[in-house]
């Protein structure tokens, strides 16, 4: 080996500094991982830079999403010399390791630059749309929602728990108790599957046409996200964003202020179908639908061809335990879900609810409890709507999947 002590020292410094560079770029690299990395470098035969890169990726990165950042940092950190001293004996003059700081700063600049860009646009949007404070009536409505949380859908747990009146005898526990009484069974222990909350999935349309109702809906979402486990929320307008973490913020006004930047992408209007398709195409998101009670908060005014929306809603309905459409338009007693898109998805829905404000949303828990174990696809029967002036629900055949002849006066036209 031609490597002098200085070169070896520098190689060691390069390697030891690499986890720090990743940390500076925002990856969660703790000392234990860094130590594993150094052990790995000693263990793996390093014949090329790619070998080093692989050993680093396996030990320092814990998630698939972080790979691009890792690759970028790796290139910046090691790439100046095509094969640094760690890999082959060096024979040229090296730059002092302090030069590396430059790269690290460059990486940080790139990443922070991006972040501050995001902040700036958030500020800009915040300027455009700020939420008001909570009115007294709404505060009371939230309180009432809080008291009816018990009505929200549940599921019996997989795991058994001891219970005084369970349906099954807990043999293990009975035996353990009997051992305390010299093997004599004095009392039977029971066990049961306790109820646990079923997942609620909220898909909220925040496009321009929903502007007037977004605040109430997001307050509702914030409230139940805080009050109950297993609530997932996504907002969509022109693009889709998962807002569950933001909604977990303790203070409602703060949570909503943060959402304002994230969510309000007004221009362009809704592409409900495309947004829902996008939602389903990410398997990590789509898996949240399975077994959940899904609430879609939208007026359903899809522009253009509703085929994509119908397809996506159909699939969401199949994956969900129950699917409820919450539309602010349903506040009008004359509302009929008769636009092409709404008429086509109607057979998939379990109910259509009024979403025009917190006072209306207050009735949701009760509706959900009614829908939870009822037959599927009963939106029509359940509807408070009257079709063609009749009091009774129409025959199934009256709702044509792509029917365009049903256009009563009260139904607004899709915006274009």
């Amino acid at each position: 080996m031609a490597a002098g002590p200085a070169a070896a020292g520098r190689a060691a410094e390069l390697l030891a500094g690499f986890p720090g560079a990743l940390r500076a770029a925002g990856l969660a690299v703790d000392p234990a991982r860094a130590a594993t990395f150094l052990a790995a470098v000693r263990a793996v035969p390093l014949r090329s830079l790619a070998d080093l890169s692989r050993a680093g990726r396996v030990t320092l990165v814990g998630s698939h999403e972080d790979f691009p950042v890792y690759e970028a940092v790796f290139r910046a950190w090691f790439a100046d010399d095509p094969l640094p001293e760690i890999v082959v004996p060096p024979d040229e003059e090296e730059a002092p390791p302090t030069d590396r700081r430059h790269d690290r700063d460059a990486i940080r600049d790139i990443l922070e630059g991006e972040a501050s860009g995001r902040d700036a646009s958030a500020d800009e949007t915040l300027g455009r749309k700020a939420f008001g404070r909570l009115s007294e009536a709404d505060r009371l409505a939230l309180g009432r929602i809080g008291r009816s949380l018990g009505l929200l859908p549940t599921l019996s747990a997989r795991k058994f728990a001891p219970s005084t009146c369970g349906s099954r005898i807990d043999v293990a526990r009975t035996a353990r108790m009997a051992r305390r009484t010299a093997g004599e069974t004095l009392r039977l222990s029971h066990r049961t599957r306790p109820d646990r909350p079923r997942r609620l999935l909220l898909l909220i349309d925040v496009s321009g046409s929903m502007k007037a109702h977004s605040e109430a809906i997001l307050r509702f979402a914030h409230f139940i996200t805080r009050a109950r486990p297993k609530v997932e929320t996504f907002c969509f307008g022109t693009r889709l964003s998962r807002v569950t973490p933001t909604l977990r913020h303790r203070l409602p006004d703060e949570a909503l202020a943060r959402l304002a930047g994230l969510v309000f992408d007004f221009d362009g209007g809704t592409r409900i179908g495309a947004s829902l398709e996008e939602f389903l195409s990410v398997s990590r998101h789509a898996v949240l639908v399975r077994g959940a009670v899904t609430l879609v908060f939208s007026d359903g005014l899809e522009r253009g061809d509703p085929a994509a929306m119908v397809h996506a809603v159909g699939r969401i309905a199949r994956l969900s335990h129950r699917l409820v459409w919450v539309s602010p338009l349903a506040a009008d007693p004359r509302y009929r879900p008769a636009t092409r898109a709404m008429a086509a998805i109607l057979p998939f829905l379990d109910a259509i609810a009024d979403g025009s404000g917190l006072a209306a949303l207050e009735r949701l828990p009760k509706l959900l409890s009614a829908v939870e174990n009822a037959a599927r696809g009963q939106a029509l029967r359940r509807g408070q709507f009257t079709f063609f002036g009749q009091r009774e629900p129409p025959m199934q055949g009256a709702v044509r999947p792509k029917g365009s002849k049903l256009s009563p006066a009260a139904t607004p036209e899709p915006r274009s």
Binding site: T36, A55, G62, R158, A172, R179, S283, V287
Partner: protein, 284 residues
């Protein structure tokens, strides 16, 4: 723990056993053996995550021990349980002869070993697979931490059971749920992707040896094209092997290759809507 095989020997042995791993996976496995750390494998379903552990067990001539995770799995399913019925009987029988000590009841013979304990006690002769960890709940993940970092488990009645050497442990996740960082931190990590063409072809020729050269090429091409379509469930390697085998059977019965592939399409695409999409695309 020094690895029983060198990096390159491991690569060759995996290929010899019919598992064509990409280079990073070989590095990951080698490091898992050499450093004695668990390896977390993530990836979409059907890319051979579980098979890694089985193959590794085969080439190391160790016994695979599998812990299948599910929602609600707990310590008594994963670790150990006491054989309560036997304990009760023992008390009944023994008290006729002599007074019974409680310590008699927590003897080895009443202990039922579940996979984790079995792996700890046979660390030198087993490969532990903790399959689909994302199906278990968070609490179970936390429960695994002691095992994964120190290869030991505390049993209140018996004390701490510690493995004589690091247990070769492979965890898999389909990513239906985000795993906690505390768990990730204790593991080496590798993401298994769909294989590139050449590797997929090697896999298919290995597992469906009857498929002829041109047909194999065509099949691999079709599979790659199908994966590019917007499907509900994109086919994994397991599906493409099944497809190759089925087409092979049909071909042997006299159907020409394109026809055989077309007729067995249901083995690679298993959803009505996806089938329509694939048929419309006319790939085959």
């Amino acid at each position: 723990m020094p690895s029983p095989l060198t990096h390159d020997a491991l690569d060759a042995a995996l290929a010899g056993a019919g598992y064509f791993a990409d280079e990073t996976l070989v590095t990951a496995l080698y490091l898992a053996l050499e450093l004695g750390k668990p390896l977390l494998l993530e990836g979409v379903p059907g890319v051979g995550k579980t098979e890694v552990a089985n193959t590794l067990a085969r080439i190391l001539k160790r016994r695979p021990i599998r812990l299948q995770c599910y929602e609600g799995i707990d310590a008594t399913r994963a670790l150990y349980d006491w054989d309560h019925a036997r304990q009760l009987l023992h008390v009944r029988v023994a008290e006729r002869a002599r007074p019974v000590e409680t310590s008699d009841l927590y003897a080895e013979k009443f202990l039922i070993e579940m996979p984790l304990l079995k792996a700890l006690r046979n660390a030198g002769s087993s490969v532990l697979l903790i399959d689909e960890i994302d199906r278990a709940d968070d609490a179970f993940e936390a429960f695994l931490l002691e095992f994964l970092s120190d290869y030991q488990i505390s049993i209140p009645e018996l004390g701490t059971v510690r493995a004589a050497e690091p247990v070769i442990t492979i965890l898999t996740s389909n990513r239906t749920r985000e795993l906690h960082d505390a768990l990730r931190r204790r593991c080496l990590y590798h993401w298994i992707d769909y294989p590139e063409r050449a590797r997929e072809r090697a896999i298919i020729e290995r597992h469906a040896p009857g498929i002829a050269g041109e047909a194999a090429e065509r099949l691999v091409e079709a599979v790659a094209a199908i994966r590019r379509l917007p499907l509900i469930k994109r086919p994994g390697i397991a599906e493409s092997i099944d497809w190759a085998r089925a087409a092979e059977v049909l071909n042997r019965d006299g159907a020409p290759w394109p026809e055989a592939l077309k007729r067995s399409l249901g083995l690679i695409v298993k959803d009505q809507e996806d089938l329509d999409t694939v048929r419309e695309a006319e790939l085959i």
